[in-house]
Point group: C2
Chain length 327, copies 2
Amino acid sequence: MKKFNIAILGLGTVGGGTYDILKKNHDLIARRTGADYQVTRILEISDKAVAAHGVDPSMVAADADDILTADDIDIVVEALGGIEPATGFMLKAMENGKSVVTPNKAAVAASYKKLGETARENGVHFRFEASVGGGIPCLAGISESLAANEFSEIHGILNGTTNYILTKMGEDGRSYDDVLKEAQEKGFAEADPTADVEGIDAANKLSILMALAFDQYIPPMDIPRTGITGVTGEQLRAARERGCCIKLIAHAARKEDGSLSCDIRPTEIPFSHPLAGVNNEFNAVYVTGDAVGEVMFYGKGAGALPTGSAVVGDLIAIMKQLSTGCR
Amino acid sequence: MKKFNIAILGLGTVGGGTYDILKKNHDLIARRTGADYQVTRILEISDKAVAAHGVDPSMVAADADDILTADDIDIVVEALGGIEPATGFMLKAMENGKSVVTPNKAAVAASYKKLGETARENGVHFRFEASVGGGIPCLAGISESLAANEFSEIHGILNGTTNYILTKMGEDGRSYDDVLKEAQEKGFAEADPTADVEGIDAANKLSILMALAFDQYIPPMDIPRTGITGVTGEQLRAARERGCCIKLIAHAARKEDGSLSCDIRPTEIPFSHPLAGVNNEFNAVYVTGDAVGEVMFYGKGAGALPTGSAVVGDLIAIMKQLSTGCR
């Protein structure tokens, strides 16, 4: 089989995790899937990151075009994060005949239609499993394995930071500020946790889930949102007495007329429900399909290796399809 | 796109569910996946089953060869169940250039290598998502989405009958015989429940999971097995006091030397573990991969429509690949 040339934009958490997995598990992947590859170019300005992953400095691209318009790159992993220049880079890669894989939920949610159309117009593959639920294979699950279903409902615990905080507050009776501080120390929350605690991150992910499951695109900013900053120990105790925990739930449901209702808000979940067992940094996507009924995907929603696992899963899928001439 | 001709062997629970979904969701599937198809022939001796699904009697095959050696059939769904003649039919279909989809865990587990080799030799596709966990998309999850991982461990609740019985015994304090009777009345257990309660069904499924996740085939009969007939109310109460429930767990782990340890036995699971939330007829597959960490797939392990959903998911995957010339 052809040996595919892969380029990675960004050697941060996810780009670095992707690179590490591609290197460590190369032979396992080749043996199991028949996909052979090499990482040939990396865009990264930090020499420290380059050295930390043992990357040969000669592999570092001079600039983005050194990758995006190069003839000898087959697939680009966009792992810079943020809306721009990431989105522009992805579009340019596609316009230059390269398939794209990304974990970038903000960019995918903001430009869902444009990215999909551009991929189709240029006959390239575009995959973004890692953008929702980190390592959890929920997007392929929904759009491929469960493609026979008409979905009626989605419930998601889509953000590890808020799930960690609510789990600890609920279990230990500690205050929001106290748990947030611990989460930051342990790397489960950012120095500025706004995007997570206000549900913005979850909204990006719910937008993508709705587009895939219901074939309806709702911009993340149009999703009604209540974050977790107002959740109190008293509410958690009262919920517990009712046999419930409180989770930040991203919810979408198809209404009778086919349109969607959706929101993100702290919600009481009975302890008997599988979603109540999704704790700390774990995420879950719980869907209801007209044939399969209720299905839940559970796993680590973030982290270098879990997210890298999803990125590499997408790379493998693309390489298999390109090998057999699939467009 | 080409319109694929699909034949179904057997219009029982799963064959009937598959047929119903293919009919009901035809336009949804075509629109969403680009896959167009028609069911052109069905092997079924019961006129009642044929009528119950509204199948045109002219579509009923005279015999198996009317499907297996026919020039105008692209994909065969084998939904007869049992080892023979199902296995022979699948091999014959493949030898005649037809791709095969099956939910038949006993046949797949018994002839795993032969079925896979025959498919490869004949350049056809062979998929069996429905054979483990019914509608749960765990096999594609493990072998495709998570293909970048080296797996170290699998824990499965793979049989709905035994999970239903243990759930009710644990929650309601009722006796095994009492709950078994109710399970049979509700259709969650067979008149002869041996294959389920003795863990034979779970062994078939664990054999398939191990082959996919660890690339090692262990015949189901070689898996050490203890069923649930010896589980008592006293054990369940004692477990509950220790903060655990008891589940019939199918377990496999890679040892240091790369070989596998595996067994199926009633096992105490802490209530805090996600597997403890898998109750009644629901199943789950919990895997640990070196990149992704812990992932759980949860859903209905049996039933006409859930299992049919997985069969149709496999049909869609094959049609997509055949459309683009993939072999």
